[in-house]
C-alpha cells in the first residue's frame, strides 16, 4: 500500500512548525509518532499534501514535576510514560494505561500528544486523562492557551486543538493523599483497542468515605466521556461492594454506544458497567480501602 505523494517537512522549532501549519493550512497534517497517521496514509484514507514532522522540534518531550503538577511534553512516547519513575510513583495510572497501548513497537513511537489530538474513540489514554482531570496546553501563532480535559473531546476524532495549533503539553494535577486509580479495558481481540475501557480515580478519607471520584469511559462511544452518573453514586459514600455495584449501573449513561462487529449496544453497555465496577474496585484497593 502506497501513500499518495506528499511533501515532507521537518521543522526544528515550534515557531517554524507553527509557521508551516499556518501557511499550509488544510493541506498539512502534523506527524508525531505516526502510528495513526501513516497507516491511514497508506490506505489513502488520509492524503495530506504536506506532512509536518514534529520529531525534530526540541523541548516537546519529557516528564517533569512542577510543584505538585506533572508536566508531560506532547511528543513524549507511550514507552517513556510506561517506564517513567516519576509516573510510576506519582501517577501510576498514567504509566499503566500507557503500557496497555498497542504493542511495544507502537509504544516506542506513539506519543501522548498525538494520541490525544487524534482522539480515536477506542484509544486508552482519553479515559485516564478524563479521570485525572488534566489540562492541555496548546500553542498557536497567538501564543499558548490552556484547555481543560472536560472541554477537550468534542466529537468523533475531533478535539479542541485549533487548526493552527500544536498540543505541546499535558499537565496532570496532583491528587490528594488517599487516592488511587486504575484503568481496565476489554480489548478488541484483533486490534487490542478498547472495546470498552474505564479509568477510575477515587480519593478516600480516613474513615474510608469517598471524597472525590472521577470516572472516564472510552471505546464504546464516538468519544471518551466522564461518567458523571457513576461518580455521583460514589462521592460521599463508603465504597463497599453494593455501593460500587449500584454506581456502576450508570456507566453507559451519556455514552453514545456504537454497535459493531465486537458488540451490540446492549452488550457494550453491559461491558461499561462491568468494567466500571472492576476499575472502581481496583482503584479503591489502591487508595487503601477494603
Amino acid at each position: 500500500m502506497y501513500p499518495a505523494a506528499f511533501e515532507y517537512h521537518a521543522p526544528t522549532s515550534v515557531r517554524d512548525a507553527l509557521g508551516l501549519l499556518g501557511r499550509l493550512g488544510d493541506d498539512a497534517k502534523l506527524l508525531a509518532g505516526g502510528h495513526s497517521l501513516i497507516p491511514m496514509m497508506k490506505l489513502r484514507l488520509a492524503q495530506p499534501k504536506h506532512v509536518i514532522d514534529l520529531r525534530k522540534v526540541p523541548g516537546l518531550t519529557g516528564i517533569k514535576e512542577d510543584g505538585g503538577t506533572i508536566v508531560i511534553g506532547g511528543m513524549t512516547t507511550h514507552w517513556q510514560m510506561e517506564s517513567s519513575p516519576v509516573l510510576k510513583s506519582k501517577c501510576p495510572i498514567l504509566a499503566e494505561t500507557a503500557a496497555m497501548i498497542g504493542d511495544p513497537a507502537v509504544r516506542n513511537l506513539g506519543t501522548i500528544g498525538g494520541s490525544l489530538a487524534h482522539a480515536d474513540p477506542a484509544a486508552d489514554q482519553p479515559a485516564t486523562v478524563l479521570a485525572l482531570g488534566v489540562e492541555f496546553v496548546c500553542e498557536g501563532p497567538k501564543g499558548r492557551r490552556t484547555v481543560k480535559v472536560d472541554d477537550w473531546f468534542k466529537g468523533l476524532m475531533s478535539t479542541a486543538v485549533g487548526e493552527d495549533e500544536i498540543l505541546v503539553e499535558m499537565r496532570v494535577p496532583a491528587w490528594p493523599a488517599g487516592s488511587g486509580g486504575a484503568y481496565l479495558k476489554f480489548p478488541h481481540p484483533a486490534s487490542r483497542f478498547a472495546v470498552v475501557g474505564v479509568a477510575a480515580m477515587v480519593t478516600l478519607d480516613k474513615e474510608g468515605k469517598c471524597t472525590k471520584a472521577s470516572v472516564g469511559i472510552t471505546g464504546a462511544g464516538t468519544k471518551a466521556i466522564r461518567a458523571k452518573g457513576v461518580e455521583a453514586g460514589l462521592v460521599g459514600k463508603k465504597l463497599d461492594v453494593a455501593t460500587i455495584e449500584a454506581a456502576a449501573q450508570k456507566a453507559a449513561e451519556g455514552v453514545d454506544v456504537q454497535a459493531d462487529l465486537q458488540g451490540s449496544v446492549e452488550y457494550k453497555s453491559h461491558l461499561c458497567r462491568v468494567f466500571a465496577k472492576r476499575a472502581i474496585t481496583e482503584a479503591v484497593k489502591r487508595a487503601g480501602g477494603k
Binding site: 484483533a190 462487529l261 461491558l271 462491568v274
Partner: protein, 799 residues
C-alpha cells in the same frame, strides 16, 4: 526398507536446514526479485459487491506519467476463463451420489459484471509501484450497482440477486452421499434424536506472505518465466497454458521460490498471475505484482462457510444409530480451482468419524454469493466434517445424560490393521482410536478435572473441558478414484533422484515446501536410504524447468505421496547400483545388498563397493556391465492406492468469564496418530500451528460481509482477529503410532490434524463450561465474548 546406518535419521528431530536463511532474512521470495526493465502492476477492483460495468475509461490512467499500459477484460482477446478443476458432473458410479454443477465462467478480468468486492476489472502497468497505484485511481469505471447477496442461507431465497445466468437460484450444485432410506429408518426407530444447527464460519487463510507474481516474457526465446507464490507450480503451468492462455506448455517455466505459507490459498490459479503473464507477452516487459494485505483479504480464496442441519439418532444406551446432515456451502462468486470437491468428496466422506454408525446420509447444496471465492483451506472439508460429527456426538451425550468421553469410546470402531469400509465411500487404512483416547487420558486426568470443575462451579467459576476424537483423510489421492469423482487431474507425485559422479545427490520433488520443511525431511529419508550424510543431499522443489510433473503440496500429501515417489526412485537407484557393484566384484546382482553406505555381498561387508565408487563408475563406465546404460538417476511417479487417515484425541480446558463471556484457554492436550514420523520436531510444529488455526476459528476468526452492502467488514487484521501467542497456552502433545499399510514409509500425513481437531475441542469445552445453565449447544462460531454472554443470558432467561 532403509538400511542400518551409524545413526538412523528417520524419526529424528533434525533442525531444519531451511531455517537459517529464513530467520536471517535471506530467503528469496517472489517480491524480492529484481529484474532489469521490471514494470509494476496495480489492479483496479470493484468497490461494489455486485455491479454491472457500463464503461471503463482508461484515458486518464494511460496518460499518467510512468504508465506503460492499461488493460481491461475486453483487451484480452482469445483468453479463456480460469478453469475449475473438479467437475462434479463427471462423478460416475458412486452409490447415492447426485451429480450436478453449474460450470460458470471466471474471466481473469471481468468485463460484464463485477461479482464481489475486490473483483478485478482492469490492470495498470507502470515503471514504478507508486505510478501504477496512482494511475489505477484514475481509471474511471461507470458502475451500475446491483442488489447483492452474501449470506449463505439467503443465496437461494426467492428474490435474491442472480449472480450467474447459468445458475438459477444461485445454486452451483446439489450433491448427496449415503443411504437415505436406511438413515430415515434409523431415525424412525431411534429412542433419542438430536437436531442442531451448526454454522462453520468463513475464514481468511492469512498466509504470512501475501500472494505475488513476476511474469517475464523473453522475446528472444519466446519463453515465459512466471515466478509465483504457488503450492504447485506444474499445476499453475498446465492450467494457465492449456486452459486459459493457449500458449505452449513447454515454453513456460513456473517457479515457486521461497513461499511464506499457503494453507491451501496458494494452490489455485488466480486472476493476477494470468493477467501479468498475458500482459508480459503483450508488452515484452517483466511485470511484477504483490498483493497488499487488503487485496489478499478480498481475493485469496476463503475457507469453510457452511450452514448445516445435523441430526443424530441414538439408542437409549448410547449407540449411534444414524447421522443425517444437510449442508449449504457457500462457494463465493466464482468456482475456484478445487472448490466443488471441498464441501462434497472431502467433506461427506468423513462423516463416519471414528465411530460405528448405523446409517449415514448427507446432502450438500453449493451456492454462489457476491463474496470472495471459497476453496480449500487447511483441512479443506475435513474440519467441517469433524466439527459436525464431534458437536453432534457431544450433543448426543448430553441428551442421554451420558459422559462425553464414555459415549465416544462406546462407539469407537475397534482397532484394525488392514481396512475399514465406511458408510460414506472411503475405506480407512489403519486405526486404533481407543488407544489414542487412552493415551490422552493418561496425560489429562479427567476424573481430577471433573472434581476441580465441581469445586470451581461452587465458586461461580465456569470451567469446561472439551474432547475431539477426530479422523481425517489426507495423502491425497488415488488418481482413478478422484477421476471417477470428477477431478480433472491425477493426484500422484513425482520424485527424481540424481546421483552425481562424485556421489552427491540432488532430489527433484514435485512437492513444494512453503513451511513444511521438505528440504530437511526428504533429506533425512535419502540420507537413511543411501547411508550418506545429509550435507551431500540437495532437495530441489518449485521449478517446472527442473522437476518432472508434480501435483504439489496440500492435503498433507508430501511425506506420504511425495516421499514415497522419492523412495521408489531410491529403490531403483539401489537396484542399479547393485548391478554395477556386482560387476566390479565379479558377483551376482542377486547376491548383493545395500548396507552402511556400500553395496556388499550379502553378509560379507568386506566384499563391498562404496556408494561413491559406484556413482563414479556409473558416469565413467569403463569397467561396466554389458547392456547396462551409464548414469545413475531415476524418476518415479507414485500414485497412491488409497488416502491415509490420521486420527487422534484432543482435550481442551477453558474458563469462561461469566460477566463478559470471554473465553480463556487454560490447557490444551493433543494426542495424534500420523503413522510413522520422519521428523518429530516438524510434526510437533505442524500440530502447534494447526491447533492455533483451529482455536482461532473457534474463538476469534471470521470473515464477515455486511448483509446490505456486501462489503467485507473484516478487511484486515484490525478487524479480523488472528490468534496471537499470548492468547494460547503451551500445548501438551504426544503420539500413538499406527503405521499406514498404504505406502512403504508407513506415513499418514500430519499437516492438517491440529486444525481439524482443535475447533470442536474448544467449542465442546465452552459448551461444557456453560452446561450448568442448561446450555448444550452454541450454533455459530467464533465464540466471541458477546456470543457466549448472550448464550448465558438466554439460558438464564429460560430457567
Amino acid at each position: 526398507m532403509a538400511p542400518a546406518t551409524a545413526e538412523r535419521l528417520f524419526g529424528k528431530s533434525i533442525k531444519r536446514r531451511e531455517d537459517p536463511r529464513f530467520i536471517t532474512g535471506r530467503g528469496s521470495y517472489v517480491d524480492d526479485l529484481k529484474i532489469p526493465g521490471m514494470t509494476y502492476a496495480a489492479f483496479v477492483r470493484s468497490p461494489h459487491a455486485h455491479a454491472r460495468i457500463r464503461r471503463i475509461d482508461t484515458a486518464a490512467a494511460k496518460a499518467h506519467p510512468g504508465v506503460v499500459a492499461v488493460f481491461t477484460g475486453s483487451d484480452m482477446k482469445g483468453v479463456n476463463s480460469l478453469p475449475c478443476g473438479w467437475d462434479l458432473r463427471k462423478a460416475k458410479n458412486v452409490p447415492g451420489v447426485v451429480q450436478d454443477l453449474a460450470m460458470v465462467p471466471h474471466m481473469p478480468l471481468t468485463s460484464d459484471v463485477a461479482r464481489h468486492v475486490g473483483d478485478p476489472v482492469a490492470v495498470v502497468i507502470a515503471d514504478s509501484q507508486e505510478a501504477a497505484t496512482d494511475a489505477a485511481e484514475k481509471v474511471r469505471v461507470d458502475w451500475e450497482p446491483l442488489p447483492s447477496v452474501t449470506a449463505t442461507e439467503k443465496a437461494s431465497a426467492s428474490g435474491a440477486a442472480t449472480i450467474h445466468a447459468d445458475a438459477p437460484g444461485n445454486v452451483a450444485f446439489k450433491w448427496a452421499l449415503g443411504d437415505a432410506a436406511a438413515t430415515d429408518a434409523a431415525f424412525k426407530n431411534a429412542a433419542v434424536t438430536v437436531k442442531k444447527r451448526i454454522v462453520n464460519q468463513r475464514l481468511v487463510a492469512n498466509a504470512m506472505e501475501p500472494r505475488a507474481c513476476v511474469a517475464r516474457f523473453d522475446p528472444a526465446t519466446g519463453e515465459l518465466t512466471l515466478w509465483v507464490t504457488s503450492q504447485n507450480p506444474h499445476v499453475h503451468r498446465l492450467l494457465m497454458c492449456a486452459f486459459v492462455l493457449g500458449i505452449p506448455e513447454h515454453k513456460v517455466r513456473v517457479i515457486a521460490p521461497d513461499v511464506g505459507g499457503g494453507f491451501g490459498s496458494k494452490i489455485f490459479l488466480y486472476n493476477e498471475e494470468v493477467v501479468c503473464s498475458w500482459a508480459s507477452r503483450q508488452l515484452q516487459r517483466p511485470i511484477r505484482w504483490t498483493a497488499s494485505r487488503r487485496e489478499a483479504y478480498q481475493t485469496d480464496a476463503h475457507g469453510r462457510d457452511h450452514v448445516t442441519e445435523g441430526e443424530l439418532a441414538l439408542s437409549r444406551d448410547g449407540k449411534i444409530l444414524g447421522l443425517r446432515v444437510k449442508t449449504v456451502a457457500n462457494l463465493g462468486a466464482y468456482l475456484s480451482t478445487f472448490a466443488p470437491a471441498v464441501p462434497t468428496f472431502l467433506y461427506g466422506t468423513l462423516l463416519n468419524g471414528v465411530y460405528t454408525i448405523g446409517a449415514i446420509h448427507v446432502e450438500v447444496t453449493g451456492v454462489f454469493t457476491n463474496t470472495t471465492a471459497v476453496d480449500a483451506y487447511r483441512g479443506a472439508g475435513r474440519p467441517e466434517a469433524c466439527y459436525v460429527v464431534e458437536r453432534m456426538v457431544d450433543a448426543g451425550a448430553r441428551a442421554l445424560n451420558m459422559d462425553v468421553a464414555d459415549l465416544r469410546r462406546k462407539n469407537f470402531i475397534p482397532k484394525f490393521a488392514g481396512a475399514f469400509q465406511t458408510l460414506v465411500a472411503v475405506t480407512y487404512d489403519s486405526g486404533n482410536y481407543a488407544a489414542a483416547l487412552d493415551k490422552l487420558l493418561q496425560i489429562f486426568d479427567y476424573k481430577k478435572f471433573r472434581t476441580e470443575q465441581a469445586e470451581a462451579r461452587k465458586q461461580g467459576k465456569l470451567l469446561g473441558v472439551g474432547f475431539s476424537t477426530y479422523i481425517e483423510a489426507c495423502s491425497i489421492a488415488p488418481s482413478k478414484v478422484v477421476g471417477a469423482l470428477g477431478a480433472g487431474a491425477g493426484l500422484y507425485e513425482s520424485g527424481k533422484v540424481r546421483v552425481h559422479p562424485t556421489g552427491m545427490v540432488t532430489v527433484y520433488t514435485g512437492s513444494h515446501s512453503h513451511g513444511q520443511g521438505h528440504e530437511t525431511t526428504f533429506a533425512q529419508l535419502v540420507a537413511d536410504n543411501l547411508g550418506i550424510p545429509m550435507e551431500q543431499i540437495e532437495i530441489v522443489h518449485g521449478d517446472t524447468g527442473a522437476i518432472p510433473f508434480g501435483m504439489g503440496t496440500y492435503g498433507s500429501r508430501s511425506a506420504s505421496v511425495g516421499g514415497t515417489a522419492i523412495q521408489m526412485s531410491l529403490d531403483k537407484i539401489k537396484e542399479k547400483g547393485k548391478r554395477i557393484a556386482a560387476h566390479l566384484l565379479e558377483a551376482s546382482p542377486k547376491d548383493m545388498e545395500y548396507a552402511n553406505g556400500q553395496f556388499q555381498v550379502k553378509g560379507v561387508p568386506s566384499k563391498a563397493v562404496p556408494f561413491g565408487a559406484v556413482a563414479l563408475t556409473a558416469y565413467i563406465p569403463h569397467n561396466y556391465p554389458e547392456g547396462l546404460e551409464p548414469g545413475l538417476e531415476e524418476t518415479s511417479f507414485y500414485d497412491p492406492s488409497n488416502f491415509c487417515f490420521p486420527f487422534g484425541a484432543h482435550a481442551c480446558v477453558v474458563e469462561v468469564d461469566a460477566d463478559t463471556g470471554k473465553v480463556k484457554l487454560l490447557r490444551y492436550v493433543a494426542v495424534d496418530d500420523v503413522g510413522n514420523v520422519i521428523n518429530p520436531m516438524i510434526v510437533d510444529g505442524m500440530v502447534h500451528g494447526g491447533i492455533a488455526q483451529g482455536v482461532g476459528q473457534a474463538l476469534w476468526e471470521g470473515a464477515v460481509y455486511d448483509g446490505e452492502s456486501g462489503q467485507l467488514m473484516t478487511g484486515s487484521m484490525m478487524d479480523y482477529a488472528m490468534p496471537k501467542a499470548d492468547m494460547l497456552p503451551n500445548y501438551e502433545t504426544d503420539r500413538t503410532v499406527t503405521p499406514t499399510p498404504v505406502n512403504p514409509l508407513g506415513v499418514k500425513g500430519a499437516g492438517e490434524t491440529g486444525t481439524i481437531a482443535a475447533t470442536p475441542a474448544v467449542v465442546n469445552a465452552v459448551v461444557d463450561a456453560l452446561a450448568p445453565f442448561g446450555v448444550d449447544h452454541i450454533e455459530t462460531m467464533p465464540l466471541t465474548a458477546e456470543r457466549v454472554w448472550k448464550t448465558i443470558q438466554a439460558a438464564k432467561a429460560r430457567r
